[in-house]
Symmetry: C2
Amino acid sequence: MPRNRQEIDREDKIEEILQAAERTLRRAGYDGLSFGALASELHLARGALYWYFPTKDDLFVAAAARVFAEALSDPPHRAGHVRRITWAVEQLAILEPLSAALHDRARHSAGAAALERAIQEEMCSRLRDLLRGRIEAARLNDVADAIVVFAQGLLAMPLDQAERAARLRFLLSELVPT
Amino acid sequence: MPRNRQEIDREDKIEEILQAAERTLRRAGYDGLSFGALASELHLARGALYWYFPTKDDLFVAAAARVFAEALSDPPHRAGHVRRITWAVEQLAILEPLSAALHDRARHSAGAAALERAIQEEMCSRLRDLLRGRIEAARLNDVADAIVVFAQGLLAMPLDQAERAARLRFLLSELVPT
DNA sequence: ACCTGAACACCGTTCAAGT
DNA sequence: ACCTGAACACCGTTCAAGT
């Protein structure tokens, strides 16, 4: 009955595992992502998964990368900069437990650290594009960096959506000329 | 040989456990803080610790509270506001893995959430005192909140000390009149 | 009231043995 | 090349049994 030897090639199998891992990650977070649960969902032995992902961190990072990429795809079209930044913060706020887990694993796993940096640099570069016309060139990098740091702080604190939005509006009103 | 029945009273025993837990937390972080390791260090059975701390979260929060309190005690006397804020950020940066763990546990443990809030409110209130003479009263709360959010963001990002200081200086130069 | 030692149900990871 | 099933060394937590 195991239809998994040469009949399914490696990349398809990896895709299948990643889809299940992504689902588990969304539903139960990092702690809920276990090789045991995943294996039984995929009708595999626990050890078999190590053939595809040599480490829990490898599996986690690969699945998390997909979740983040999806969350940050199609930002609101032609909205003002405040609304666009608020949108990004709220998208990340939904994934906050995932961000926290990624940050935690980044201390032990080079892959996790790389993904964390990549997400933050993506945010920075989008911000610079968004603010380029609106801010003098000399301040652009500092302001973009500051907003990313601030956004990261908003996510790390136990605030609700309204508080996040209010504090973000205050910062933007201070840093970005109207 | 067990000199622990009525000979040592409860509070002293708790103090002894907390000291060991604090040491373990500083050396090995949240993951390294295990009832097993702690018990063998204290020459106790694993189960005995549950008599004093019903849950790992209870033990962790109690030990972490001491670590944070110590780290934030005696701030630099009569320094400028930039140096004092930088000092606090660096003190917390040293404990960043602990902050991350606390934030993670705050989702599952009310005690962890309470400690996290308490630390942040302590920072906020110190900041307000520090900036009170320097900022118009109407902006004081917003600026203090913003700086705390920013500081939290600095800690959540993989930056070195120089980068943290530079970004903090930029923010303060924007928010606090010289 | 406090402690022991065993048990339970999990982990991530490894590995000999199979196909 | 892929998979199984058992093993290893851990977890946090519970609990009957002792003092």
